[in-house]
Amino acid sequence: MATSIDYPLPKPAPSPAEFSFSQALWKWVATVDAKRLGIMYTGTAFVFMLIGGCLAMVIRAQLMFPNSDVVGPDTYNRLFTMHGTTMIFFLAMPVISGLSNFLVPLMIGARDMVFPRLNAFGYWMFLCGGCLLYFSYIGGGGLGGAGSAPDAGWFAYAPLTELAYSRGPSSDYWALAIILGGFGSLATSINVIATCICARCPGMTLARMPMFVWTMLTTAWLIILAIPALTAAQFMLLLDRYLGANFFNTQNGGSAVLWQHFFWIFGHPEVYIVIFPAFATLSEVIPVFSRKPLFGKPAMVGAIVAIGFISLGVWAHHMFAVGLTPWSNTFFVASSMIIAVPTGVKIFNWTATMWGGKVRYSTAMLFCLAFLLQFLVAGLTGIMLAVAPFDWQLTDSYFVVAHFHYTLIGGTVFGVFAATYYWYPKAVGKMMSETLGKWHFWLMVIGFNLTFMPQHYLGIIGMPRRIYTYSPGRGWDLWNFWSSIGAYIQGIAVLLFVINIIKSGINGRPAGDDPWDAWTLEWSTTSPPPEYNFEKIPVVRSGRPLWDLKHPQDPDWKYE
C-alpha cells in the first residue's frame, strides 16, 4: 500500500454477542438494513460472475481451435445466451444495487434507505430471478440434455423466441427470470431516488452530494425508465407464447423489427446504466488517491445527467443494418456521436483530477488507470460503430463483441474491482491484501487485453459473432487461440480476487475508520459501520466534509 499515513487505530468494535449459526443466518435473511442488503447484492453478483465466467471459459475452449467439438451447437447457443444474460442482469445490475445500497445512505449521512422493506423485497425477488434462470438447466429438458436453458441470445430477437421457433420453456425462463430480476433494480432505484431527495443530512445540499451519489441517482432514474420498457416487451412476448397473441408473430402480421425497437429502447439506456457504477467509483477513488478534489464537479454532474437523457434517444444504432430509412439512420448516427461528448468530458475531468496531484499507486487506483485507458478504447471503438456505414461491416461481428467487452469488463468490471479494493475495508473492517491485489491487477490487465484486442481484428476479417465453430483457413485461427489463452489468464486473475476477498476477511490487517485518508462521510463512521450508520447525524458545510475536518485552516466551504 502506497499510503503510509499513521492514522489512529479505531476503537475495537464492540464485540458482538455470541451468535449461533442459525441466529447469524437469520440476521442476514431477515435483514432490512441497506448495508447488509448491499453486501448481499454484491456477494450474489460475484457468485453469478463466477458462474457466468465459467460459461465464458467453455465458450473460449470451444472457439480456441477451428472445427472443435468441445460442445455441440445447441449447448454452445445456450452458453452464450446464459453468459450474456447472467453478466448483464445478474452481475452488472445487482452490483449497482449493491454499491448504492451500501454507500448512498452513508455518503449522504442518512441512517438507512427510506424504504427498507421494499429494499429487502427487491433483493429476494432478484435472487429468485437468478435461481429461476439457472433452474432452466435442471428443469424442462432435464439435467442430462443440458436442460432447456434459454438459447436465443441475450437480446432474444423475435421471432426466434416465438413458439414456432422456440418450443419448450427456454424462452419463458429467460423472460420470467429477467422480469423477476428487474424488481431488485426497480426497488433499489425508487429507494435511491427517494433517499437522495428526502434523507440527506443537514447541510448536504444537492450540489454537495458526492459525485458517486449523483451518478447513482442518474442510474436510478434511467432504470426507472428503462426496465419497465423491457418488462412490457417481455409481457408481450409471454402473451404471444401463452395466449397466442401476435405482437411478434410474423406469420400473422407481427413485426420482428418492433421487438428490436422495444428491446433497445431498454437496451441502450441499459448499457449506460451498467457503466455508471464504474463512473461513480472512479469519481471517488481518483480524487482520494490523487489528493485533489474532483476536477470540474459541476461539469461532471452536467455530463452524467446529459448522458442520462441523451442515452434515451440513441437505441437504433443497434439496428443500422435492419434497413431503416437513411434519415433515421442519420439521426441515430448524430445522437450516438453527441453522447460521446459528455463521456469525453468525464474522461478529461478524471485526467485533470490526477494532473498536479500526488498519485498513490494503490490497487484501487491501478484499476482506475486501467479503466481510463480501456474505456478510452471502448469509447473510440464506440465512435467507429456509430458511423453507420462502418457499422454495416462491424455490427454482429467480433468487433462488436470486443467493443462491448471493453466497456463491460474493461469498464464496468474493472470499476467494480476498484470499488471492492476501495470500500472492502469499510464493509468488512479489514484491509485487502495489496500483494495479491497487484497480482490480480496485472494478470487481469494482461488477460483482458489479450482476450479482446484480437477480437477487434477478427471482426474486421469477417468473423460473425455467435457462431459455435469455424473452418480453418479463414485467417481466424491464430487470433482465436490467443484470445482463449487470454480468457484463461483472466480466469486465474478472478480466482486470485476471490481468494483475496476470503483471505483478507479472515486475517486481513484491521482497517480503521479511514484507511485512505478520504473525504466523504462514509469514512467518518466505524468500519464496518453500525446498523444505524452514525451515532449522531452529521452536519456538513461542503462537498468534502472530512477535508473540512482535517484542514480547519483551509476548509472547502470557503470556496463554495
Partner: protein, 326 residues
C-alpha cells in the same frame, strides 16, 4: 476439413473491398480510425503522463497535500467544444455515405441484374426473377464496370431474422420476415467471395454460408442460360431417377422438369453446378454428396434435412441421379 470450395478467396477481409459499397465503407472506416487513433494517442498520453509524472515520490513529505484545484470553466468549455466539432465532421461524412449506399438506384440503361435472396434456417434461397433461375447458397453476379451490370438484391426471410453479409462486397443488411430489405453490389473483379449469415438465427447459425461468384459478363450469361433450363434428362440414370422420385426427397426439393416440386429445401435442378453442400459445410464432391445424403445430421447437427435411412443400394442410386444434375 478446410473451407469448402476450391478457389474461394478465403479471407473475407472488409479492408480488401472489391465493390463500391464496401469501398465506401472502407473509406469512411479509415477516416474514422485515423481520427480515433489520433484522439487515442493524445488522451492516453495525457492519462499516462498524469499518472506517472504526478506520482508520490519517495523523498516527498507525505502529509503535504497538493494545491487543491476545483476546476476551470475555460478548460471545460474547450474540451466540450472541440469534441463537438470533431463529431460534426463525422456526422456529416456518415450522412453522405449513408445516402450514397442506401439510396443508390440503378442508372438508366445500366442493364442491372435483379435477384431475390430468401433466408431460411440455415441456407439461402436465391431467385433471379427476370432470368427464371432458382438456386441456393451461391449467388452468381456479373463483374461490373462503370456502374453497368450491378446486381440489386431484395432480401426476404422465410422464418427468423438473418443477416446478409459478404464482407468484401457490402456491409450487412438484415434479412427480416415480413419485410423487404435491399442491398446492391458491383464487384469489380472476378472471383468467389465468402460471406455468411451474421444475425443469430438458431442452432446452425454458424453454418449458414454464402458465396458470391463474380464472373465476367459473358460467363455469367452462359451460366444463367444453363441454369434457366430444366434439369438434364440423362437416360442412363432413368432407373436412379425413379428411385429418387419414389423417396421423400421430392417433398422438400425441386428438380425443375420432374415431379420433384418441394419448396422447403434448396432447389436441386442444377446441384452439380454448385461448389458446396449444406450451405458451405462440405465441398461438392461425389464422396461428400454421398456422405451428406446418407446422414446430414452428422455434418450439420440440427439442420432441417433428416437422415432418410436409405440403404446402400438406394444411396448409390440417388447419388448417381444427383450427379447428373449439372
Amino acid at each position: 476439413m478446410a473451407v469448402p470450395g476450391s478457389h474461394a478467396n478465403r479471407i473475407a477481409d472488409t479492408f480488401n473491398p472489391v465493390a463500391t459499397p464496401a469501398h465506401m465503407e472502407k473509406g469512411i472506416a479509415i477516416l474514422t480510425i485515423a481520427i480515433c487513433g489520433v484522439i487515442f494517442v493524445i488522451v492516453a498520453g495525457l492519462i499516462v503522463y498524469a499518472f506517472v509524472h504526478y506520482r508520490v515520490k519517495r523523498d516527498e513529505r507525505e502529509f503535504e497535500e497538493p494545491p487543491q484545484i476545483y476546476g476551470s470553466n475555460q478548460i471545460e468549455l474547450a474540451w466540450t467544444v472541440i469534441p463537438i466539432l470533431i463529431v460534426f465532421v463525422l456526422i456529416g461524412v456518415s450522412a453522405r455515405v449513408i445516402r450514397a449506399i442506401q439510396a443508390h438506384q440503378p442508372a438508366p440503361h445500366s442493364d442491372p441484374v435483379y435477384a431475390t435472396v430468401v433466408g431460411h434456417q440455415w441456407w439461402w434461397e436465391v431467385h433471379y426473377p427476370n432470368l427464371g433461375i432458382t438456386t441456393a447458397n451461391e449467388i452468381h453476379v456479373p463483374v461490373s464496370h462503370d456502374g453497368r451490370h450491378a446486381t440489386f438484391f431484395t432480401l426476404e426471410s422465410a422464418d427468423v431474422d438473418h443477416s446478409f453479409w459478404v464482407p468484401q462486397l457490402s456491409g450487412k443488411t438484415d434479412v427480416i420476415p415480413n419485410r423487404n430489405n435491399f442491398v446492391w453490389m458491383d464487384p469489380s473483379k472476378a472471383g468467389v467471395y465468402i460471406g455468411q449469415c451474421a444475425e443469430y438465427c438458431g442452432t446452425q447459425h454458424a453454418h449458414m454460408g454464402l458465396r458470391v461468384v463474380a464472373q465476367p459478363l459473358p460467363e455469367f450469361r452462359k451460366w444463367a442460360a444453363a441454369e434457366a433450363k430444366p434439369a438434364v434428362e440423362d437416360p442412363s440414370v432413368a432407373k436412379d431417377k425413379a428411385v429418387f422420385d419414389s423417396l421423400a426427397c421430392i417433398n422438400c426439393h425441386t428438380v425443375r422438369g420432374t415431379i420433384a416440386q418441394g419448396t422447403f429445401g434448396p432447389d436441386l435442378t442444377h446441384l452439380m453446378s454448385r461448389q458446396t453442400l449444406g450451405a458451405g459445410v462440405l465441398s461438392n464432391t461425389p464422396q461428400h454428396l454421398r456422405d451428406w445424403v446418407n446422414d446430414p445430421q452428422k455434418y450439420k447437427v440440427g439442420c432441417k434435412m433428416p437422415d432418410m435411412h436409405l440403404d446402400d443400394q438406394q444411396l448409390t442410386e440417388v447419388v448417381a441421379y444427383l450427379e447428373t444434375l449439372k
